[in-house]
């Protein structure tokens, strides 16, 4: 069974006078363990697609099966529950709680899952260790570098055991070297933990880490092909 099954997803924003059709019939299927890059220019409907994939929004029509359950008609609280259980978010701007330690930031999803305190701390420490931030658990975001902050965000996405990570321009605020480190981390998580990763980016260098590239334009998927085809020569050997 596919982890993600989108069928004819449409999203229409009714802005009073104008009706904007952000998605005009998107169908997409992803298996567990995939590493997919979603590319497309701004205004292509890429963000709307990500919001729906991330269960932050629901489509106007069409169906979305996430791990076999239909989430396309769920209410706000059910969506919140699904997000907590299935999806970890990594944002361009990190989106960590300021003046809150790395550990507490990572604990946040567990808090809303109702995990007891002792276990929360233990699991958050494990997640921080996994992203290579052992010993920084009591640092606040402002005491950490951009790359480290993004690692905290990744730990937060991992800690709940979500099978899917949605990364929206995760390297947009980082320099090239740090970007590579973060992307290596994603790739490693995908390969060793089997975590499905959906990456939104407009940088080909970053997209290269994925194994499948979906391109969105004007509310439609215009291409959906394996990475190998696009960059056969450069990626050879690196991409297993």
């Amino acid at each position: 069974m596919a982890l993600i099954e989108l069928r004819d997803i449409r999203k229409i924003y009714d802005l009073g006078e104008v009706r904007v059709e952000a998605l005009r019939g998107v169908s997409l299927s992803m298996e567990k363990g995939e590493f997919v890059a979603v590319m497309g220019p701004s205004g292509s409907g890429k963000s709307t697609l990500m919001n729906i994939l991330g269960c932050l929004d629901v489509p106007s029509s069409g169906s979305y099966l996430l791990d076999g359950r239909d989430v396309s008609n769920m209410g706000k609280d059910d969506l919140a529950q699904v997000r907590g259980q299935f999806i970890g978010f990594v944002f361009q701007g990190f989106n960590l709680l300021s003046r809150t330690s790395a550990l507490e930031n990572v604990e946040l999803p567990l808090l809303y899952m109702g995990v007891p305190r002792q276990e929360r701390a233990k699991r958050a420490l494990d997640a921080l260790r996994l992203v290579g931030l052992e010993g920084r658990e009591h640092h606040e975001p402002k005491q950490l570098s951009g790359g480290q902050q993004q690692r905290v965000a990744i730990a937060r996405a991992l800690v709940g055991g979500a099978p899917l990570i949605l990364a929206d321009e995760p390297t947009g605020n980082l320099d090239t070297k740090t970007s590579d480190e973060i992307m290596d981390l994603f790739e490693n998580l995908n390969r060793t933990k089997g975590i499905t990763i959906i990456l939104v980016t407009h940088e080909p260098d970053v997209a290269r880490y994925s194994r499948r590239v979906v391109t969105v334009r004007d509310g439609l998927i215009v291409s959906d092909e394996p990475m190998e085809k696009r960059t056969e020569i450069e990626k050879e050997g690196e991409c297993a």
């Binding site: 919001n51 991330g54 932050l56 929004d57 706000k76 609280d77 919140a80 529950q81 997000r83 907590g84 259980q85 978010f89 944002f91 989106n95 960590l96 709680l97 003046r99 809150t100 507490e104 946040l108 999803p109 808090l111 809303y112 899952m113 109702g114 937060r156 709940g160």
Partner: protein
């Protein structure tokens, strides 16, 4: 929804992270609750003071005052010639069954000298009944005797303030002092009584036999006549009866036919005090009302800052929602913050109000009594305000759209 303890934890953490903002938010409640507690304390204190005043003047007290006298068809002004006599006082005590004691009273300022010390004080003439009427026991020595009164003996009883100023640590009983140049022997010393309701030092006094006072000290124009007789009724139940008996007796003695011609009046102190009590109660209600308004304003302040805080923390709310917080989780987090703030404000306000009450009673000389009722009231009120004014901002936070909230700059 997650466990209440977890929500409390989040709220506490959030408040601790923003100490200054939390303090400013709570400030309105702190001041409001402090005002309620202090105002209540002052109101209760005023009531208690009135009650104390009644008992310090003597319980079951009636005062007979001389009124205007008619002399040859000409009505004289109030108190121009004292119409009450020592004999009247004696008659009231002997012939009115509802009366326990009657004491003719006259007073005047006197200069007293002992050795090289001198002091100016208020003196009062009595037949010795004053101590029993005002329930003012002797600390040392004796009261005036009937023979002191009859013979206008040159004796006196001193209040503590006079003792301190003339004698220091010396024992005054048996010593002779000069009252307006007349040598007088101290026979007794009163126990300390403290200030009266008006803040007057009641211990700054000197008692003389009424006869001595009029003849030897004041040199009154109207010997044997006084403007006031203090009467103590036999019991509280007999105050009204005493008043009637005194009126009847004096009407007869002064040959009064109609009430209009009466050259005296009988005042029932208890009634006056009841009226005073009612007015202080009205005062304390008014104070409480004013204080409640400040509490209300404090509550609106909490709502205001919570609203600003929700806007300011839009992104935080978005993050929480993205990682799985439900509507109720966000609602209760903000509600819990508001309630914690107002309860904390309540506790600090109670402390501040209590402190202010103590300062007011110490430096302004008003009495302030902190009642448990006012503390419970203020505490309950601040909790209610937290819920009431915290709900709107909290529901606003909970209704935010996660996408919009995450995008908020």
């Amino acid at each position: 929804m997650i466990a209440p303890s977890a929500i409390l934890g989040i709220a506490r953490k959030s408040l601790r992270t923003n100490k200054m903002r939390s303090l400013l938010t709570a400030l309105g409640i702190i001041i409001g609750v402090a005002a309620v507690v202090a105002m209540f304390a002052i109101g209760t204190g005023a009531n208690k003071k009135v009650a104390e005043h009644i008992s310090s003047m003597g319980s079951n007290l009636l005062i007979v005052r001389s009124g205007s006298t008619t002399s040859g068809g000409q009505r004289m002004g109030m108190g121009a010639t004292p119409s009450l006599t020592f004999a009247d006082a004696e008659a009231i005590q002997k012939e009115c069954p509802a009366v326990a004691l009657a004491d003719p009273s006259a007073s005047g300022a006197v200069q007293v000298v002992y050795g090289n010390m001198n002091w100016s004080t208020r003196s009062e003439g009595t037949n010795g009944g004053l101590l029993a009427i005002q329930e003012w026991p002797l600390g040392a020595g004796r009261n005036f005797t009937d023979s002191d009164i009859r013979s206008s003996a040159k004796v006196c009883i001193l209040g503590q303030t006079v003792v301190t100023n003339l004698f220091g640590d010396e024992d005054p009983v048996g010593k002779t002092i000069r009252v307006k140049k007349v040598p007088v022997t101290v026979v007794g010393v009163l126990k300390k009584k403290g200030n009266n309701a008006m803040g007057q030092d009641q211990d700054d006094t000197l008692l003389l036999p009424i006869t001595t006072a009029q003849k030897r000290i004041y040199g009154s124009r109207f010997q044997g006549r006084v403007n006031m007789i203090r009467v103590k009724a036999a019991s509280e139940a007999e105050i009204a009866a005493a008043s009637e008996q005194i009126t009847a007796l004096l009407n007869q003695r002064h040959r009064i036919r109609t009430a209009e011609d009466a050259d005296f009046s009988v005042m029932n102190l208890t009634e006056i005090m009841e009226a005073a009590k009612a007015s202080t109660q009205a005062l304390s209600l008014l104070l409480a009302a004013v204080a409640s308004i400040s509490l209300l304003v404090g509550g609106i302040g909490i709502m205001n800052i919570m609203l600003v805080s929700v806007t300011e923390r839009t992104r935080e709310i978005g993050i929480r929602m993205a990682v799985g917080a439900k509507t109720a989780d966000i609602l209760f987090q903000f509600l819990a913050e508001a309630i914690i703030l107002s309860l904390l404000g309540g506790i600090l306000g109670i402390a501040l109000g209590a402190g202010a009450s103590v300062l007011i009673s110490r430096y302004a000389g008003w009495s302030a009594v902190i009642s448990p009722f006012s503390i419970i009231l203020a505490f309950g009120f601040s909790a209610a305000i937290g819920i009431f004014f915290g709900y709107y901002p909290a529901s606003k936070a909970a209704k935010l759209d996660p996408i919009e909230a995450l995008r908020y700059e």
